[in-house]
């Protein structure tokens, strides 16, 4: 990885220049627009980025300036990263569907001077914050629709800026030389990007990553999974998330593969199928969603077809993973699996868009083991990784052939890991961040002087040297009798059921464990239709006695599983309730990456938690909700609580299905 001049390509602008030479006519980015996959080669991308960078410069963007990037996955927003970096300025991607308060905090904290936004909606959002954001000087938008009539002095079309850049370049060819010189002058140690973590508690923190952090991490991932420039990936995760930054931006530049951007949020599933990614990254939620969709759709299938589906899926469950891992499998089973591949697995993978998948990753939180195994049994090389923004993603990775659903793998290349005495995982690597932006206290709390980072997660290495993450270090607790209480473990078991969308377990320092559940509207509505359950609203469905009966069976099954594990036997669920509203990021109940904020929820639903432990059979509660447009309202409901009977401990380790 060196430029023509022989210097290492340690920044993205340098990688761009390199790719524009070495892969000039290879596709770099695609977007489905106007009905077809519009494609830009690396040479074309260089031209676009250079024009935009020069336009930005003409508008007054200086080295060290912070540039907010707000919007969905579009080529121009990805180009903005590189254009901004080529000028020595720092891109700050922001979650686009964040509520205004959150966004204004980040933009203000980062002190952005420019904002590059997707469309009118985002532009309006930014414009509504101008009273607070004193440093903001210019807004640049990609989609021109509806943008007439805005002040042209402060608001610019992306294409217009590029046109400016091109005109300037035509007038003064030396501009390019100077631009290239500036790129050459930057180095790997420079600040590359600030990614704000959504944070389960407190205000978002700006993680400063250097070019080295990102480029070396990306390179390690590429080598680890033998990725090439021929990979196809689809970019659909938030730009502000480190995962997307590494997979859709950094690794594309380093490996030279093409990134495809979907046409619109409604068409992602179709677009993914069309592209057929070879390398795919998704949080467990996405895989859960696909499995739920599959289950729900198969319930509409005719009897024989569903029977065939279930039969072969059952067979895959038995031998699929062995075959994937190259372990010995009886010839007959192998043949049967081949038949299943023809009849079920192949078509299913095709529908999901995974026919060409070489390697897929899930990370962000633990995936339900059943879900994980389901995909792997189909022959998909799905793996887990454990990562953090502060680590430039990779902390551990699962090497091929050593895939377990309950571990996150071995330390990634160049990563050192140690377990603190309280069980917390600490790591040190070239990807480790520079520090939190304008927050030295937090930096000092997280990162030691010799470069070790506190992950905040509790875990241990098993006998094979794989890291197991139990939970957030501070979330692992104990029941009042002293036995272990790992809420996330229980929640994940519950969430395996398609009908259960979210679960929040409580029980720390209490006598027993209880859970609050969210039903999955798609799955349960479907179930309701088949069972002639009439309901008028989500709330009514959630409180329906028949729904409770159905969920009770799931909970009971989880208890049976827990009973089979000696350390978990005592934390069987004794009581549960179904929440009257969906947990929502807009209400602060979920993070932007859709993780439950357990502490917040416990406070917010304190009356319900109290009811779970005072023996009440039901409790009337009123909850404030935030609508999409920011207005607030309240909903109230009478929430019922069910008692469960714990199962006796099972001596055998074999958990029932």
């Amino acid at each position: 990885m060196t430029t023509a001049m022989g210097a290492p390509a340690d920044t993205f602008p340098k990688l761009l220049l390199l790719n524009a030479v070495n892969r000039a006519s290879k596709p770099a980015v695609r977007m489905k627009d106007f009905g077809i996959w519009q494609t830009w080669t690396w040479a074309a991308v260089l031209d676009e980025i250079r024009a935009f960078a020069l336009g930005l410069e003409a508008l007054g963007l200086k080295a060290g300036d912070k540039v907010a990037i707000i919007g969905s996955n579009r080529p121009r927003l990805y180009w903005t990263f590189c254009a901004v970096q080529s000028l020595g300025a720092i891109p700050v991607p922001v979650y686009k569907d964040g509520v205004a308060d959150e966004m204004v905090y980040v933009l203000d904290h980062a002190g952005v001077t420019f904002a590059v936004v997707e469309d009118q909606e985002q532009a309006d959002k930014v414009l509504s914050m101008t009273d607070t954001l004193k440093s903001l000087r210019h807004v640049i938008y990609d989609e021109e629709r509806g943008m007439r009539g805005y002040d042209p002095a402060a608001i610019h079309a992306f294409a217009d800026l590029q046109a400016d850049g091109r005109r300037l370049l035509a007038a003064d060819p030396a501009l390019e030389t100077r631009w290239r010189e500036r790129i050459a002058a930057a180095g790997g140690a420079d600040l590359a990007v600030i990614l704000y973590t959504s944070g389960t508690t407190g205000k978002p923190k700006g993680v400063m990553l250097s070019f080295d952090n990102v480029v070396i991490s990306a390179q390690n991932g590429i080598v680890f999974d033998k990725l090439t420039e021929a990979e196809e990936i689809i970019a659909y995760l938030p730009l502000a998330w480190v995962g997307d930054h590494i997979f859709s931006y950094a690794q594309s530049y380093v490996a030279g593969f093409c990134v495809s951007c979907p046409e619109s949020p409604e068409t992602i599933v179709d677009d993914r199928r069309e592209i057929g990614p070879t390398y795919f990254f998704a949080p467990p939620r996405v895989f859960e969603g696909m499995l739920t969709m599959t289950t729900v759709r198969m319930q509409d299938a005719g009897n024989w077809k569903r029977g065939m589906f279930d039969y072969f899926i059952e067979h895959a469950r038995k031998v699929g993973e062995q075959i994937l891992d190259g372990r010995p499998v009886a010839l007959f089973d192998r043949l049967k699996y081949g038949l299943g591949e023809m009849l079920v697995y192949g078509p299913l993978k095709n529908r999901l868009g995974f026919s060409r998948l070489k390697v897929g990753y899930t990370a962000g939180e633990a995936i339900g083991p059943e879900i994980f195994r389901f995909y792997r049994s189909l022959g998909l090389n799905l793996k887990q990784l454990y990562g953090q923004t502060e680590a430039g993603v990779y902390v551990t990775l699962q090497p091929d052939g050593e895939i377990r659903s309950d571990t996150v793998g071995r330390p990634a290349p160049q990563v050192e890991i140690r377990i603190a005495e309280n069980g917390e995982v600490l790591y040190r690597s070239p990807g480790v961040f520079l520090g939190y932006y304008k927050n030295d206290n937090a930096t000092a709390e997280t990162k030691t002087a010799d470069g070790w980072v506190h992950s905040g997660d509790a875990g241990f290495f098993d006998r094979e040297g794989h890291l197991r993450i139990i939970d957030r270090a501070k979330d692992v607790g104990k029941l009042s009798d002293g036995s272990l209480f790992a809420p996330k473990y229980i929640e994940n078991k519950l969430k395996f059921y398609a009908n259960i969308k979210e679960a929040v377990a409580v029980g720390n320092e209490r006598d027993f464990c209880s859970v609050m559940l969210n039903i999955d509207l798609t799955a349960v509505a479907n179930w309701a239709e088949r069972n002639n359950v009439v309901y008028g609203s989500y709330q009514e469905l959630a409180g329906h006695p028949q729904v409770y009966d159905m969920i009770e069976k799931h909970v009971d099954q989880v208890n049976r599983d827990l009973a089979a594990e000696p350390s978990m036997c005592d934390s069987q669920i004794r009581r549960f309730l179904i929440l009257h509203k969906e947990l929502d990021a807009d209400d602060g109940e979920l993070t932007r990456t859709q993780k439950v904020r357990r502490g917040f929820i416990a406070d917010r639903y304190a009356p319900l938690v109290e009811a779970l432990y005072d023996g009440s059979a039901e409790r009337f509660v009123t909850t404030e909700v935030t609508f999409e447009d920011g207005r607030k309202g309240a909903i109230s409901a009478n929430v019922r609580i069910r008692d469960m009977k714990p199962h006796p401990p099972v001596p055998s380790a074999e958990a029932a299905e």
């Binding site: 489905k32 009905g35 077809i36 069309e274 592209i275 057929g276 759709r297 993978k349 529908r351 999901l352």
Partner: protein
């Protein structure tokens, strides 16, 4: 089930608007063509080629012709056989006058006369629609059929009133006349039908086909989009009659060798083609093939069934049964699947595409 579309993405409009955008469909088509050109000639019996494949292809072309008019442009015609007849007699006259010319060329050229006459009888369609037009096309049927009997020039004053195909050549090979080799004929028919089906497919997928469908679906709106109904309908009549005409020309030159007066291009024949279109599928080219195959195979199947189950059915009653079955099927299809066998094919294909999910 066999479809693996993941990863088949289009980066140009040309690819996106292709007639067969899915790779597996293109493979399927290639396989069918390979069988038609490469396998059937080497493994099929003379009866199969001469008695089934040749008439099947010819009638499929006629059905495509009527389908263009009825299925795409929405104009009902009960006179397809007459236009086939015009094509047949044109071909006969042409081979008489130009004995040395390539007979395949003459067959193709024969389509122009029916096209012209089709336009003539299509003129009423400018003022009348639907049911009324059906009656107008009957006028064509009876008038033209009468011409074939009464105008002696058409059958070269042959005292029997019949036309008998002389031996004619194309590329140095004898294709017509009783002595012609059936395999050569098969290739000639297959070549013409494949070529013309390809043309038809291009037409219906392009501007002209769209104009036809606009007239079919909502002629008022079509006018307000700037469609001249006159042009659209008359083009449909012309193209449709051209196709029927070429089919008719092939029928006498490459299949029957001869035509008795008033016996071939009758109203029954028109109905036969109409049924092929209805059962095969209105507005579908592949449906025209299905329809032709079905209508032609039905009597053979019935006979085989009667023979293999030793049913005491007389030959003439097999024909009667065939009438009844076709009649009943027409009604059943109109009720349950107005788009015919082609629709069943489409649904089946769609089922395979979304497999394992239900359609």
């Amino acid at each position: 089930m066999f479809y693996r579309e993941a990863g088949q993405f289009k980066t140009s409009y040309q690819a996106d608007s292709a007639v067969f955008p899915i790779l597996q469909d293109r493979i399927g088509l290639a396989v069918i063509l390979a069988i038609a050109f490469g396998v059937i000639p080497f493994f099929a019996t003379e009866f199969f080629v001469q008695g089934i494949m040749i008439p099947f292809l010819i009638y499929a072309l006629a059905a495509i012709g009527l389908n263009i008019l009825l299925g795409y442009a929405g104009q009902l015609s009960l006179g397809s056989a007459a236009f086939m007849g015009v094509g047949a007699y044109t071909a006969y006259k042409l081979v008489t006058y130009f004995p040395e010319t390539n007979v395949i060329l003459l067959i193709l050229v024969s389509g122009f006369v029916p096209a012209l006459i089709g336009v003539l009888f299509g003129l009423p369609s400018l003022r009348i629609k639907g049911l009324y037009l059906a009656v107008a096309t009957l006028a064509a049927q009876f008038f033209l059929d009468w011409c074939f009997i009464r105008i002696a020039w058409l059958y070269n004053y042959n005292p029997s009133g019949a036309i008998e195909m002389p031996a004619r050549q194309a590329f140095g090979l004898t294709l017509t006349g009783p002595a012609a080799d059936y395999m050569l004929r098969y290739y000639a028919v297959l070549g013409i039908v494949v070529l013309m089906t390809w043309f038809a497919s291009n037409l219906v997928h392009g501007r002209i086909g769209r104009t036809w469908m606009m007239v079919r679906d909502m002629d008022i709106a079509a006018q307000l989009m700037g469609v001249k109904l006159t042009n659209a309908k008359l083009t449909a009549f012309a193209v449709s009659s051209f196709y029927c005409g070429v089919a008719g020309a092939m029928l006498v030159t490459l299949y029957l060798n001869a035509a008795e007066p008033g016996a071939v291009f009758t109203i029954r024949q028109s109905f036969l083609v109409l049924f092929m279109v209805i059962l095969g599928g209105l507005g579908s080219l592949i449906g025209s093939f299905f329809g032709a195959a079905f209508i032609l195979l039905l009597p053979i199947l019935l006979r085989t069934a009667a023979a293999s189950f030793h049913l005491p059915i007389e030959v003439k009653n097999i024909e009667n049964l065939q009438f009844m079955i076709v009649g009943a099927l027409i009604i059943l299809f109109l009720k349950f699947e107005p788009h015919g066998l082609a629709r069943l094919w489409q649904v089946g294909k769609q089922k395979l595409r979304v497999w394992p999910f239900p359609y």
